[in-house]
Symmetry: D3
Amino acid sequence: MPPDEELRYPSPPPIDSNTTTDDEAGWVWAQIKAEARRDAESEPALASYLYSTILSHSSLERSLAFHLGNKLCSSTLLSTLLYDLFLDTFASDPSLCVAAVADLRAARVRDPACISFSHCLLNFKGFLACQAHRIAHKLWNQSRRPLALALHSRISDVFAVDIHPAAKIGKGKASGDRHPKIGDGVLIGAGAIILGDVKIGKGAKIGAGSVVLIDVPPRTTTVGNPARLIGGKEKPTKHEECPGESMDHTSFISDWSDYII
Amino acid sequence: MPPDEELRYPSPPPIDSNTTTDDEAGWVWAQIKAEARRDAESEPALASYLYSTILSHSSLERSLAFHLGNKLCSSTLLSTLLYDLFLDTFASDPSLCVAAVADLRAARVRDPACISFSHCLLNFKGFLACQAHRIAHKLWNQSRRPLALALHSRISDVFAVDIHPAAKIGKGKASGDRHPKIGDGVLIGAGAIILGDVKIGKGAKIGAGSVVLIDVPPRTTTVGNPARLIGGKEKPTKHEECPGESMDHTSFISDWSDYII
Amino acid sequence: MPPDEELRYPSPPPIDSNTTTDDEAGWVWAQIKAEARRDAESEPALASYLYSTILSHSSLERSLAFHLGNKLCSSTLLSTLLYDLFLDTFASDPSLCVAAVADLRAARVRDPACISFSHCLLNFKGFLACQAHRIAHKLWNQSRRPLALALHSRISDVFAVDIHPAAKIGKGKASGDRHPKIGDGVLIGAGAIILGDVKIGKGAKIGAGSVVLIDVPPRTTTVGNPARLIGGKEKPTKHEECPGESMDHTSFISDWSDYII
Amino acid sequence: MPPDEELRYPSPPPIDSNTTTDDEAGWVWAQIKAEARRDAESEPALASYLYSTILSHSSLERSLAFHLGNKLCSSTLLSTLLYDLFLDTFASDPSLCVAAVADLRAARVRDPACISFSHCLLNFKGFLACQAHRIAHKLWNQSRRPLALALHSRISDVFAVDIHPAAKIGKGKASGDRHPKIGDGVLIGAGAIILGDVKIGKGAKIGAGSVVLIDVPPRTTTVGNPARLIGGKEKPTKHEECPGESMDHTSFISDWSDYII
Amino acid sequence: MPPDEELRYPSPPPIDSNTTTDDEAGWVWAQIKAEARRDAESEPALASYLYSTILSHSSLERSLAFHLGNKLCSSTLLSTLLYDLFLDTFASDPSLCVAAVADLRAARVRDPACISFSHCLLNFKGFLACQAHRIAHKLWNQSRRPLALALHSRISDVFAVDIHPAAKIGKGKASGDRHPKIGDGVLIGAGAIILGDVKIGKGAKIGAGSVVLIDVPPRTTTVGNPARLIGGKEKPTKHEECPGESMDHTSFISDWSDYII
Amino acid sequence: MPPDEELRYPSPPPIDSNTTTDDEAGWVWAQIKAEARRDAESEPALASYLYSTILSHSSLERSLAFHLGNKLCSSTLLSTLLYDLFLDTFASDPSLCVAAVADLRAARVRDPACISFSHCLLNFKGFLACQAHRIAHKLWNQSRRPLALALHSRISDVFAVDIHPAAKIGKGKASGDRHPKIGDGVLIGAGAIILGDVKIGKGAKIGAGSVVLIDVPPRTTTVGNPARLIGGKEKPTKHEECPGESMDHTSFISDWSDYII
């Protein structure tokens, strides 16, 4: 197969179908292995990396635990220790792997910069930081706070992504603390900062570099520093598309350019 | 002791009292060791890390030199070389340790995200970058500029904090160069950029993500990109609280939200 | 020679002269070695680093390949593998070294923070990220995309600079894709974000922390988030100086401060 | 407990009793943890090492897999990869852990140089090489020969112990190949070399530095280079004690000194 | 292909033919790649290692330089530095690669323990130490003695093989110094020690663990400590086979056992 | 100075004179630095190594602690931890440095293979193992046995030298334990094994590869496996030279060859 030809995937199980998540994980993992095999064949210089991170593993969980362990380790926090911790945590809570699979599928479908599942798994800081954060969050909730904070510190050092281990990603919970609540399908631009007890509604968009200190209603867009709502505070413009359907970070341009003086 | 129970510290020497700084350093170091011992006991997976970074050391200086050496090393700048350099610099200038102790106490008292001294010592990028910067600054003033710049480069790589080694933190000196002067008790939000020969007055607040190109008077707040003074250029609103008393990064919200259109 | 005395360079071949680029590269490499030798002599603690990164090498290409290989390696991407790849790429395309030399000369002449060629070669994230990006871009154009993306991921992890391997730096090409086109001599401030299919004209300036979503005409300045043109959208103020002549990041202050309310 | 006081073990299950091997492994593992805890407390400089290698693990298998993975790794064979392999192999064949426990008990009881179980687990080359060899042997028998040989090569590099992965330790099997057969309870002195298809009978002793090219009958001693039997080829002297009961390497002296001219 | 099936090589160029050595090197390198590809396919856990050490390289020299660089490096002697040195030395003296090819062929044909070329290339201490020694010897003869000795020290640390860089392997030169002269086709057993200005004649055999302090005539065997000639000093027994034809380390047994009392 | 020209040392303080040991250490350290500077200048590829191990340090103790720390470290025993331990031990017991200086002088004067002090300091396994052993022995005597044994294990792994931390080198003490007593000026050949409670008299020689199980009287030579006294058990031949005056490992040849049948 020519080196940069795209793999045509056999029809995947639809995301929202009633198929079991095991099927989904299996299908995504099979794609990842097929991609890695194709890339290893066409690019021997990368093959060692692809075998150690993907092709030598028997499951997505092991591959992800291995890759994160090697990314986040330091001379005082050994890769073997982190690998161990991640393996155990994945084994004890299958929802972590389900979430990783959903993130991989979302990135593959929605983000034009994502050319393959394996590319996302290996290289996307946001994806990797998010999976590591979920582990830190789980540790935090188990009252293993010093460990959660040490992991948080490594995530921040290595991926330059700073999410407090107490923060929950996925379903906006009720208020009552100091942390932002991020709804499903929200798209957060590069370099954005969200601070305090604010709610970002489902399907909202946060412009790159924005500094958000106010609630953002569902399906609205906020941009700038300080961030303002497109259409104004009183009557923000709603966008039509499904929550988080497109990950095109340039879609702000049309939303926004009218507002630039 | 239950894993996440907070340590009740024996009454510390008050910050501004006449007790000697040696007492303060000793007291803080004792707290750090007690915290690390408690955490090592409740979390065996982290114990190796806590012993190597804290519990095996006889003083705060050694612990900090060790931790920074292992954080900032690379394959061409060995940890042993950096450790050596840091140990020597701490030994030759006791004020560096005094400043580190003051930073630890300030973070512990003022920053709601700081749950323990040891958490700050091990994990706070800002704290670690600041201590390493002070060493680079000292080297710069001794005309050891290539070494100061190599250290600066590592601080920037590892902590994503970029403070030129010529910059002085702590007491606003007179003008006359290209670098910002940051007064005591200033609170700088995440991702803020301060450029050129500007003065940030005592107790001022710089909002997260702000880009500051103008002088900021004492006890005033500046936000946005470009940063504007809350209350306007002519009559900026003064805040009441003591300089830098609260490190609550969300305190900008109320200051600011009125100004968001 | 006293440690911080500046080297007086013998008159270099002028940048735009008809001398061959080999002469230029040779001259710059000779300066770098002289600087490194002086620094190694005055600062034994840094000598090991200077010998391994500069003084043990026979050419700028080898030094740069070595330094980038050691900076970008990880436990799963070995330094020897990267070094090999970089050596081969430099050998196969001499324009890469020519471009590196031009960048070094530009930084030395224009950036007041750059005190020596060797300082830039060893420590400037922007310089190093740019050279590594050129290699990734070349791999991308050779359809070695998985390797280009793996390298891109390491550049982003290590230097916190995120340039897609498909992006071309240097000569604004025609439109037709999703990536910015950056003209010659553009000065991009720290933390700036440029998104989408926008054109940044020759000699334009992008303020630190700006988020640019619109075309910027030649020799104009854009600042803020969202970024606006100094002088307004309709009639932006042109600056007089030659494109990119000064790298003084504080020059925005005077441009800008009139526009701050 | 004073630092060098010996732990008084609660009465262990007798080696040859009918108690299950799980009881034995559990008892030994409990001793190891108690020893490591005592040593970590009395020697903070070693505590980090003891926590990472022993105290952070939930079982002997995990501790051993971790320690061997970190001992045998190299820049091209990652510790995480080896750890993974060892964990899997231990999980698939419980007899490997049973054998390790037996070796630990034997060393503790018989070798006067072995002051604790944990000392043997962490520091005894012979013990560690033997456990790693058993894994290599298993891989060899599963026809995973390239992996077995790569592991063999690392065992030889790191522990300077060279046992071919095809060699079986424990029960002398019939002849028919090129490898030595070593019976139970044989004591092999430091630096001894045993070559070819020779049989070393149960309870035999091989003197330090001996080069053995002949069969050694049970409970006889062979010494020298080339090795000769004590008492002569025809009527070698039998020793009385139980096979392998004493690991005292100096016991050859009395056996042997009469034969030295 | 089943995992442990042996590769049937296409007929190689005969060792002593008039074919050019380039043909030989090319043929051996092709075998090595074929073996590594087969092993990587059947053993994913080893594939990363095989790609990084063999399959990503374009020639035997590069593979060998890479593997030796990673084997012999330490925290103070970087792998990239050694790799560089080895690449340069191989490029400047093609006879080094010719000798490596001859060693590989000899081991493959003669040593029953060598199951493939790639096994020898990756795992045989003797082979690797010999190639590294040849580089050290070359450096020594170029009066680069400190570098030769540093390399010698690493060879001794890592491979436990101690050959002085001044020693020449291959053609016995005239006397006149303190070092042994080893003829072609000599077989040296494991753990043997050869000291002083002694000559080991072509095709001689040195028994494992022997300590040789006397000249050994061609095609004779010496064994023991101190080593004696089989057949006696006056009329040593000559063996018939071609010099070094068999690497069977057990062939001493029959030679020798008659002499054991 | 031409690369391999020997340094002519200014007249050193005589070994047995009344000059203080500080003078001796200072003189030897000055020689080492001069040698390293000469070698770094003539061999840029080695300069990085020489600066990091020797030229960046202010004293022999620091250089030795640094070099041993980097040699003996592993992924679970950090170089910084070992460096710290060695620095502290050298500081607390000046006799350790005095002994190292004496060893360096002895090797330089007596061993024909030792071409410079720095060569011995950096590369001689025996020298390095001996200094590390002295530290382990000191820890043993302070009842820090687990640490002494961990260090012993690393010495054995890295230098393939196995001296129990309880063993004392230097002055034969009275009997009463299981360990050999080695007198002053004893020369021990490569690969020799000495076992049990034996006394090796002052100035004795142990042949390479010997296995010694009997007392060796002063100024006598023992060779072979098992080792016998030259001249016979009853009336061993005494050699004339001062104890340990020559380190020429080939001097056994003449002693011995008469005894080889």
